[in-house]
């Protein structure tokens, strides 16, 4: 997959979360890590790339196809993507199974029995056997995040977008979730991942986009980024994060 953005801007009131962000990846990027300091625009860029947000200005293309800027077009676009958030964002009034099966039925037009089968299959694959009929509040953080990943994967998304998926988890649960993401990456799933888990990004990512203050400071293959970062900002960021790990 090749991602390209031209001067993408997204504002919240007076604050520009993305301020003319431009980059392009190599033609065969498959697991793209968005790195950079907090508040630098990672989460916003991830949402814009997944058509969850429509930018105020600029253009984005995936494999040469330009993303639509209107809400109706963006809806069609994001239905082909899967999203996982920092705070899991499961629906609290539904069981783990319903969280997955409901969008399959309502958004993707799958018959109920088939949707339930697919949901079961994913829950089992992500190690949630026996938890199908629990509400999110009855699951641990790691289990909730795995259920959220199952929900994102269920419709077989073209692109899986993960926004700091382990930031709210303790180290053990972080390990559980990172194992899952790694398996997905190794199985060939296209992934965009915003993260602070630098050593994990080093293991799974093949491309890195480094952002700070709403601008893309660096976009290079993971091998290059981690061995010879070009900008001072990226060098300082990597040094800071590797200090204690």
């Amino acid at each position: 997959m090749k991602l390209e953005t031209q001067a993408v801007t997204k504002r919240y009131g007076a604050h520009a979360a993305l301020d003319g962000a431009s980059f392009s990846t190599g033609d065969e990027a498959r697991v793209i890590a968005l790195l950079g300091p907090s508040g630098g625009g990672k989460s916003t860029l991830l949402r814009v790339l997944g058509s969850l947000l429509v930018p105020d200005a600029g253009s984005i293309s995936i494999d040469g196809r330009t993303l639509p800027h209107d809400e109706a077009g963006a809806l069609i676009e994001r239905r082909a993507n899967g999203f996982v958030f920092q705070g899991y964002n499961l629906f609290p009034h539904l069981t783990a199974l319903q969280n997955i099966a409901l969008p399959l039925r309502e958004v993707h037009g799958m018959p109920e029995s088939q949707a339930v089968r697919r949901a079961m299959e994913l829950l089992h694959r992500l190690g949630l056997e026996g938890h199908e009929n629990k509400r999110p509040s009855q699951l641990s953080g790691g289990q909730q995040q795995r259920a959220a990943i199952a929900r994102a994967l269920a419709p077989k998304p073209r692109l899986l977008l993960l926004d700091e998926p382990t930031s709210a988890l303790d180290p053990v649960m972080t390990g559980e979730v990172l194992d899952v993401i790694r398996e997905l990456a190794e199985a060939g799933q296209s992934i965009i991942l915003a993260t602070h888990e630098i050593s994990f990004a080093r293991k799974v990512a093949d491309w890195v986009v480094f952002l700070a203050a709403g601008k893309v400071e660096e976009s290079s293959s993971a091998a290059d980024f981690f061995t010879q970062p070009q900008t001072k900002l990226a060098q300082a960021y990597l040094a800071g994060l590797s200090k204690y790990r």
């Binding site: 969850l52 994001r78 958030f85 629906f91 609290p92 309502e106 509400r135 419709p155």
Partner: protein, 255 residues
């Protein structure tokens, strides 16, 4: 959800307290009633029992229809106040503020003698149901709006992320979660509606209060009718409140 303070009191003790309170309240009422020099005579009330029953059925029937009107209207006004279109938002906001800001009595009189008259609607019961439905609907709109607006932004984002459109987001995410939060306020408002229906007597609807007024006048007994009247409302409003508490329990889940 924090445990109700009641759960710390044993059932036996609760029964004991209830009996004690009942005795104290009864004694107080008896003392108050007997200190008033008034000769009570219940014959008239008994003679008019059929009329009384008819009035009760009218009150309950029109309250039920007005409830349906008020919930539907409250929902529409809530949607209107959240509309992207400014005139719709302003209109619905204006309706809610005007209706909530003025007494039901005034609305009934203006609605019946001016608006219904001008529109040549000659059915007080129809006018009454609509006016009562509007009045309670304005309050329900605010209860619904509070519940809908308390749904967190992350839930709305999750709904977008799984690909729900606007209608699906309301149907599968907002309404199921808002329902639980709106339930206590809504039931309280419906209990109020039943009591507020007593004002419909001013536009000549022969509901319970009007029947009691007629009965009091016919028997030259100004007070006797009002005690059974209070009981006739409580018979419905107390179970309704109880039902609301049980429903709250059923809809409860940790968020």
């Amino acid at each position: 959800m924090p445990a109700s303070p009641d759960s710390t009191v044993s059932p036996a003790r609760r029964t004991l307290y209830a009996l004690l309170l009942l005795v104290v309240a009864s004694a107080a009422f008896y003392a108050l009633f007997s200190s008033v020099a008034y000769s009570w005579n219940w014959d008239g009330v008994w003679r008019y029992r059929q009329q009384f029953g008819y009035g009760w059925l009218t009150t309950m029937g029109l309250s039920l229809v007005a409830m349906i009107v008020s919930v539907a209207l409250g929902f529409l006004l809530m949607l209107g106040r959240r509309s992207h279109w400014a005139p719709v938002r302003m209109f619905c906001g204006g309706v809610v503020e005007l209706v909530r800001g003025s007494p039901l009595l005034v609305q009934l009189l203006i609605g019946h003698y001016i608006i219904a008259n001008a529109l040549r609607i000659d059915q007080p019961i129809f006018t009454g149901i609509i006016l009562l439905g509007c009045f309670e609907g304005a309050y329900l709109a605010e209860i619904f709006r509070g519940a809908v607006e308390s749904i967190s932004a992350s839930q709305l984002e999750a709904a977008r992320a799984v690909g729900f459109d606007k209608v699906q987001t309301y149907r599968f995410v907002i309404i199921p979660q808002a329902l639980r939060r709106a339930l206590p306020g809504t039931t309280g408002q419906l209990v109020s509606l039943i009591k507020d229906s007593s004002l419909l007597s001013v536009i000549g609807i022969e509901e319970l209060v009007q029947k009691v007024k007629i009965m009091n006048a016919a028997t030259y007994k100004p007070l006797e009718g009002f005690l059974p009247l209070a009981l006739a409302y409580l018979v419905v409003t107390l179970p309704l409140s109880h039902l609301a508490r049980r429903l709250e329990g059923r809809f409860a889940y940790e968020t």
